[in-house]
Amino acid sequence: MKQARHISHSTLLILSLGLVVAILLVANLFVGSVSIPAREVLNVLMGQECERESWRYIILESRIPQAVTALLAGCSLAVAGLLLQTTFNNPLAGPSILGIDTGAALGVAVVMLAGGAALAGSGMSAFLASIVGAFVGASTVMAVILFFSTFVRNNLMLLIIGMMVGYLTSSIISLLNFFASADQVHAYTMWGMGNLSSVSLQQLPVYSLTAVCGLVIAFLLSKPLNAMLLGTRYAENLGVNISMTRNLLLLATGLLTATTTAFCGPITFIGLSVPHIARLLLNSSNHNTLLPVTMLCGGVVLLLCNMISVLPGSNGIIPINAVTPLIGAPVIIYVIVNQKKISYFNG
């Protein structure tokens, strides 16, 4: 009886989160720095005549890709955070804390600040280069941390190693900045603030594809992820191929973090806090349900943040990284303060 209720609770949660995502996705099309009457937005969406051609352009070329990007980036970062928290058996792990998005940033910095000149003029290839750079950077940091995790058993120490790797990476980025031209520094700084509007309609398929790839890999890993909650030795005894699982996790987290970071800049707090929101909502750490709930929550949170960021209207857009901590930081503080009462901490 209890079991049946538990399943229906999680199914209900997933369905309602799906509904919220759909509503927010549409709502994101109605708000922006340019105010467009709701009626006209509807007209454009229905494919009917629109009062001004520029509005049609804004909605189709800017708002739709931005909303989809916010959804995908939210899903990607949240799932990457969850994968890291389970892999490292540490509820406070996340792409930004472990220095993985700093690694991606270094990859982008190398492309934008050091190698940018070589690629200048070939728009798409420079862009692809920064994605590849981000992926290489993120995976390298992740690999370094996984390497340390094979002999540093203490998770807190591992977290600190991750932070140190992050600082090292940041210092290289600072050096690159120091030697770069003013324009390059400006471009890099703007990228670093996080921007969900940087994916154009043409780039959207590429981004969607890589993000979906990462998400699919994550979902395929839910069985070994559940076993890994018991620790690696138990998981091994249950027949889990630890090294292959770790490599796939590396790949999935790398894909999810690196592509999102390359396109939108390092977006903080989503990867760290959303898995906690999901666990608190779901009251379970079973990945069969936790993964979809985390993914949908990530989408909801980043879509919300995106709406908040355009609140100033014509006065401009608030950088997304000024908004995400507003939701993320209180969640983490709440979780830490209440950790004695929260079941998944007392495992």
């Binding site: 058996n89 069985k223 076993a227 018991l230 005894n237 027949g239």
Partner: protein, 337 residues
């Protein structure tokens, strides 16, 4: 008829391969035989190599030399998948399962039997039900792991190993950190599983008292004497326990199945008592106070303690006699001398 062992090995060297070419050998020349339908306890001091032996037998660490055979197959030749269906383990590792329900954790034990996504079939659910039932935690199946006591958690992990349906279950100190009630419950549970489900169960423990009561066979592991195995009662009666902890400060009392600190017998006393329980505790107090006890009443010039009951203890020494009315008085009397 003697049954064939489910795990066997001859001349096994166990230990670690360290970085480079270094090898740290923990034990040499071990002969091993683990039988189905029996509870076997592995006893030994800290650092005797109990965990290394368990890891070697569970296949998570290769032996330095020699081969481990499982049901006639080489352990190292078993595929990862087959191994997970053959040997189940219960460890002391830190887990992160507070947010899972008891049932979900036990169901994890079905992973070697389920498909790619781990979906449970009707049969899997039945096995989980039986495992919960067998471990007496069926009524707690919807509870979160975080809400359980240490003893209940251990039962869940045992239920998980049971659900794994492995003929062999290895447990690393399953009763550590448990209170006496949980220790007895867990050990009795393991013995029942071994007998009723015909599993070969090997566990390491420091709880010698419970091991002697419930273990069918014992493995005594020490640096000095290697591995000594045998039926519990045989080992006790052949004095093997005195070699388990080669220390002059403690000795094994085969009558009570326990280790005691060796008494510095400065003085000797003769004790007369008909009640065995009373005698045991009188001797206990005398030992603690430095008296070695003799039961030979003909010894002269030695004090005699005649115990009538616990309120009447007569101390006779030469011509004088004192009557003590409680153990408290006896203790004060002994200290006063």
């Amino acid at each position: 008829m003697k049954s064939t062992p489910v795990i066997s090995a001859q001349h096994l060297d166990i230990g670690y391969r360290e970085g480079g070419n270094g090898v740290k050998c923990v034990h040499r020349n071990l002969d091993i035989a683990l039988y189905a339908g029996e509870l076997t306890c592995l006893l030994g001091a800290n650092g005797a190599g109990k965990s290394t032996l368990l890891r070697t037998l569970s296949g998570s660490q290769p032996p330095l030399t020699g081969d481990v055979w499982v049901n006639g197959t080489l352990l190292k030749g078993l595929s990862r998948h087959l191994l997970s269906r053959t040997i189940g383990v219960v460890l002391t590792d830190k887990t992160a399962i507070g947010g899972l329900t008891v049932r979900e954790v036990v169901a994890l034990g079905r992973q070697p039997h389920t498909g790619f996504f781990g979906r449970l079939s009707a049969h899997d659910r039945e096995v989980v039900d039986h495992s919960l039932e067998a471990c007496g935690i069926a009524d707690k199946q919807a509870r979160y792991m975080a809400s359980l006591s240490d003893g209940e958690r251990q039962k869940v992990m045992i239920a998980k190993a049971l659900a794994q349906e492995c003929p062999i279950v290895l447990l690393d100190e399953p009763t550590a950190f448990l209170d006496i009630v949980s220790r007895i419950e867990v050990m009795s549970l393991l013995h029942r599983i071994a007998v009723e489900h015909q599993r070969a169960i090997l566990l390491s423990t420091h709880d010698i008292e419970q091991a002697l009561v419930l273990s069918d066979r014992l493995w005594l592991l020490s640096r000095e004497n290697g591995l000594v195995t045998g039926v519990t009662e045989d080992l006790i009666l052949s004095g093997k326990f005195d070699n388990l902890f080669p220390h002059t400060d403690i000795h094994f009392d085969p009558l009570h199945g326990s280790y005691y600190p060796t008494v510095q017998r400065r003085k000797t006393i003769v004790v007369e008592c008909t009640d065995e329980t009373l005698l045991h505790w009188v001797v206990n107090m005398l030992n603690r106070n430095g008296y070695g006890v003799s039961f030979d009443g003909k010894k002269v010039a030695v004090p005699l303690l005649r115990v009538v009951d616990k309120q009447e203890l007569l101390w006779v020494e030469g011509d004088s006699m004192s009557t003590l009315h409680s153990f408290d008085e006896l203790a004060q009397f002994l200290r006063g001398r």
